[in-house]
């Protein structure tokens, strides 16, 4: 076997890396398949970004990101009820996918437990250097959230790294406060590490974060206001972990694009206000759609997403949507509500 054949053989066998790719930008007016809502960038954001570039912000910057943006991320997390992270524990990444990759690859020693139903980007990130996988059973009646029993089982088996989404990327379901607290306690009592993707938390009216000293958060930076062309993700982690994350980030890409970071910094000035306005809009739109498709709706608390049983597709002619099969849930489809795409009535 030649060297290239050996490479190809191993690559073809890597099912994780071949998990589907979901675009973060809609392909057409009726493409409801993306993870986050989109809209045009505001002129003030464009102007501010160009001003930064024209004033010389075209060079390498600090590996974990410019400090003002890292401070803004901590403030942003605060609006979601998340405390306990310092700007020095924030790493700005080139996308939420890079955040997934970096967090997983640094924190996993040999194995990780992931939900049966998970964003395919997680599998792709794991596929770059595959670990041993353990599966977390999900509760369909609770929007595909992993059960507390399955979490308990894996940590008691000695699995040290757990990956969760709250909200779940497919359904938008979140843990209630009591469940989130129990998960935090479980993680701490077993000295495990939790990676929690809370990228959709901006769109949950009353979000209950999972808090523990051993939790690393990842997510999208300021979603929904036009940053898709300048994508950014974040990692919020402890002072013990941030050093290793920063080292790998430097190895991977030295730093994140300055244009993206300065655009996000400008957005941070008014994001909370805009987010609340958008949240109200999406909540109303979701409620209307939910009434029209009520027999198909699956549980979820995220205003921008509506997960439906797959047979709802008959009512959605002409629209494209996320396929639950890509997430591990073949009988589910997911609609995104966004200003920039046409929503079914």
């Amino acid at each position: 076997m030649t060297t290239k054949e050996a490479i190809q053989q191993k690559h073809e066998a890597n099912r994780l890396l071949h998990a589907p790719f979901i675009s973060q930008v809609p392909k057409a007016e009726k493409d409801l398949s993306t993870d986050q809502p989109t809209r045009a960038l505001e002129p003030a954001v464009i102007a501010s970004t160009i001003e930064a570039l024209e004033s010389g912000q075209t060079h390498y910057v600090d590996v974990p990101g410019i400090m003002p943006l890292r401070e803004a991320i901590v403030a942003f997390l605060g609006t979601q009820g998340v405390t306990g992270y310092d700007p020095s524990g924030i790493v700005i990444t080139a996308s939420v996918q890079e955040a997934r990759f970096l967090a997983l690859q640094i924190l996993i020693e040999s194995s990780v437990a992931i939900p049966e139903v998970i964003h395919p980007g997680v599998k792709k990130a794991l596929g770059v250097r595959p670990p041993q996988l353990h599966s977390l059973a999900i509760d369909k009646s609770k929007g595909m959230l992993p059960t507390l029993e399955s979490l308990q089982q894996v940590v008691e088996q000695g699995v040290k790294v757990i990956y969760l989404e709250s909200p779940v990327r497919l359904t938008g379901a979140t843990y209630e406060a009591s469940e989130a607290a129990k998960i935090g306690q479980l993680i701490e009592s077993h000295d495990a590490t939790l990676i929690c993707d809370q990228g959709l938390a901006s769109w949950v009216a009353s979000y209950d974060p999972i808090s523990s000293a051993n939790t690393t958060l990842i997510g999208d930076v300021f979603p929904g206001v036009g940053l898709e062309g300048l994508p950014l993700g974040f990692i919020a982690t402890s002072s013990e972990q941030v050093g290793e994350m920063t080292k790998l980030k430097q190895i991977m890409s030295i730093c994140t694009s300055t244009a993206s970071q300065y655009a996000a910094l400008k957005i941070s000035e008014t994001y909370e206000e805009k987010r609340r306005e958008l949240l109200n809009t999406f909540q109303a739109r979701r409620q209307a759609l939910e009434q029209n498709l009520s027999t198909h709706v699956l549980p979820g608390q995220t205003a921008t997403l509506l997960a439906l049983k797959a047979d709802a597709s008959a009512s959605l002619q002409g629209y494209s949507y996320a396929d639950g099969n890509d997430f591990g849930a073949p009988d589910v489809i997911r609609l995104l509500l966004s200003e920039s795409v046409q929503t079914p009535s």
Binding site: H11, L17, G56, Q97, E98, K247, S340
Partner: protein, 384 residues
């Protein structure tokens, strides 16, 4: 150094120290002092208004891949299919990372001529591979000797790294040597990882040769390049990998797994860089030539020996006569003169008697920095 630090950590630590001086002059980091040309920024502005929601697959937009294919054909002399043989990356660094991950399976080894850019070793470690280092020597102008490569090979070596011009040694691999190295790669069925990032920065009569341009080279060569150095776009993170379609399929999937598509704004800025006016890029190159001369003149005055830089944006200076380690000397120059030159020991343990000095400052600042360095060397030589 009490605890062994990674070379890159040493360099970042020195950058941090240099920032403590208001009048620091950085002659260490490979970050061009020029700002990105205005027409590229203008393209980014236009893209933010009209292209921010353009869909990009993980490998990047076709228009940019087509522009890269044209560039590669014109400058590097080989053809690539934009549909299947190019992946756009977050800078040359991500291109390097993906190239290594694509070629090195667990347990495989990469043959690395030393000295070399640290990230290659870091990426191989991440891939759970091994590095087989091969020394190159200043008295041979850091030549990547094909016979020495042949002797250094082990059964685990599956890929050969060829960086030309070399970082930090600034040596260019001759066409004759590239041909011989390619023959070795064919004989031993090695993948070639080629780093062309300084291909537009070649001096005197030296000529850059891309391994992929040679007969039989393209089918086994992954080549990286980026806009950071030639177009002063370090902060934009715009690079690419080219290679045969079968290997590039893996690079594309790795890209999707590591970070997804590059920013669409950065892609349009890159497109403007490649297809727009080239005068500023040429002016920068002419400025580097002048500055290179300034640095060499000062080094002559200071009595240093150096390998004449054949390419790149730096010179590798022999400090053996000082009797000091490269880190000690670098730190002394920094504390006395507030000038940062990188220690060669950070690139390779065998290069601890070298400093890397860049010419990435305006001429007046370069003269100021080197003048201060000369004074500092006089003080150091006097034992102070």
């Amino acid at each position: 150094m009490t605890k062994k630090k990674r070379g890159t950590e040493v360099l970042y630590s020195l950058i941090g120290e240099a920032r403590g001086y208001d009048d620091a002059i950085i002659l260490g980091r490979g970050d061009p002092d020029f700002d990105t040309p205005a027409h590229i920024i203008a393209a980014a502005k236009e893209a933010m208004k009209t292209k921010a929601h353009e869909v990009s697959p993980p490998e990047g937009i076709l228009a940019l891949r087509e522009a890269i294919a044209k560039r590669v054909k014109k400058i590097n002399g080989f053809e690539v299919d934009p549909a299947t043989e190019i992946v756009i990356t977050n800078g040359g660094q991500e291109a390097l990372f993906l190239m290594v991950l694509a070629a090195i399976n667990e347990g495989d080894a990469l043959l690395v001529p030393e000295p070399n850019y640290n990230t290659y070793k870091d990426a191989v470690t991440f891939a759970k591979g091994k590095v087989v280092g091969m020394p190159t020597y200043p008295n041979e102008a850091f030549r990547v000797d094909p016979e020495r490569v042949r002797q250094t090979l082990t059964p685990e070596v599956k890929a050969l790294l060829l960086v030309s011009p070399n970082n930090p040694a600034a040596s260019v691999i001759s066409r004759e040597d590239q041909l011989a190295l390619l023959e070795i790669a064919k004989e031993h069925d090695l993948i070639i990882l080629a780093d062309d990032i300084y291909d537009l920065m070649i001096y005197d009569d030296f000529v850059h040769t891309s391994p992929a341009s040679l007969p039989g080279g393209s089918e086994r060569t992954l080549t990286l390049n980026a806009l950071s150095k030639a177009y002063a776009m370090t902060g934009w993170r715009a690079g690419w990998v080219t290679g045969p379609a079968d290997l590039m399929a893996k690079v594309k999937d790795l890209k999707a797994g590591v970070s997804g598509p590059a920013s669409i704004i950065a892609q349009h800025a890159a497109l403007a860089a490649l297809t727009g006016p080239q005068e500023e890029m040429i002016e920068m190159y002419e400025a580097y030539k002048r500055r290179r001369r300034i640095v060499l003149d000062y080094l002559d005055q200071m009595g240093f020996h150096y390998g004449t830089p054949q390419g790149g944006q730096f010179v590798f200076v022999d400090i053996n006569h000082t009797g000091m380690s490269s880190l000690d000397l670098s730190q002394k120059i920094l504390s006395k003169a507030h000038v940062l030159a990188y220690p060669g020991g950070a690139f390779s343990e065998d290069m601890d008697h070298f400093l890397r000095i860049t010419f990435l400052q305006p001429e007046d600042k370069l003269r100021d920095g080197l003048g201060r360095m000369k004074e500092a060397m006089d003080v150091i030589a006097a034992g102070a």
